[in-house]
Symmetry: C2
Subunit: 161 residues, 2 copies
DNA sequence: TTATTAGATGAGAATTATTACTATCTTGTC
DNA sequence: GACAAGATAGTAATAATTCTCATCTAATAA
């Protein structure tokens, strides 16, 4: 409704702009914008290293020494559910294994998180448009096609996905 | 040394062939080829679903009811260390977060597991060579460039990587 | 402002995933 | 078959995450 509500967030946006966006998103979602949430969000915006919940907890404790790890986890989940932040991988939580040690890619269902092989031959070689940053030596590219598997995409009888 | 030792494993190889390969690899690595290991390896070859350690444990228990979960984890690690099997993701174990919710890719160091952003604009669009299997609906492609970061690639003073 | 109240917080217990410890048992070798 | 290195099962310990609940706070209306 408010014109600022739906502003798109940009990587180079300064923090005040992002905080404004964050507050609008919280309001739109009916989430109280607590001090803890703002400090957590700021720590995420300032982080350049894809922190873990524990790392985030350590950083946020400097600003709010009494904050609890439970609050960090609880809000991480809420932020993720509302698309306010992103998680790097769909596969954290448990090791997933396969005997196939030939390089290949995967289809990953974002709902049930099942994984299906996508043979390397089925994907054209990955090509970069520009040089990589800062001396990183790439050994191979791994592709994940994220989406919905047949089961999760099908309109269900009863339960929705 | 033995001509069979270095045979390359193929996805369509039958299990007897793979088992032979497995035994040779164990011998080459000085690993006793125990009954537990063979049954674990067979379960991995037969699995099409990228099982977790717990799933593997459940399956293997049907063949060896007395096997312990510790044995499953211990051998998974050994198999991985020797390249006998693969793991799907470098990111299991802990959630990793970022405020940047624009789609983008990552450089991932296989040694220290640090992650660096690779803007989507820096990679040409992913193109498939053939149709996807079985009705999977792709929403987006995520690329990970695996390799070594500057620090881990540099020839260290003392400790090796 | 103040009162109200839905929902958030901190503390700690509980659960899940993984690793470590150790006495006993196998595998590979002679 | 005997030996030694290393593996196993069972169990304790640790790490990662979620849950429970008494108390507190942000958002709203009076
Ligand atoms: Mn696979
Ligand atoms: Mn990123
Ligand atoms: Zn699915
Ligand atoms: Zn590194």
């Amino acid at each position: 409704m408010h014109p600022l509500r739906r502003v798109r967030i940009q990587p180079d946006m300064d923090f005040e702009k992002r905080l404004e966006w964050f507050r609008n998103e919280c309001a739109a979602a009916g989430l109280p914008c607590t001090h803890q949430r703002e400090v957590l969000y700021r720590a995420l915006v300032e982080a350049k290293d894809h922190p873990s919940p524990e790392m985030l907890y350590e950083r946020v404790k400097r600003k709010i020494p009494s904050i609890s790890l439970g609050t960090v986890y609880r809000n991480i989940k809420i932020f993720l559910d509302h698309g306010l932040i992103g998680e790097v991988s769909l596969h954290h939580g448990s090791l997933r294994l396969e005997a196939n040690n030939e390089p290949h890619h995967h289809l990953v269902c974002r709902h049930c998180r099942k994984m299906f092989d996508l043979p390397a031959a089925g994907v054209h070689a990955i090509r970069l448009r520009r040089a990589l940053p800062e001396g990183f030596q790439v050994e191979r590219f791994v592709v994940e096609a994220h989406g919905l598997c047949q089961e999760c995409a099908a309109p269900k009888k009863r339960r929705s996905n």
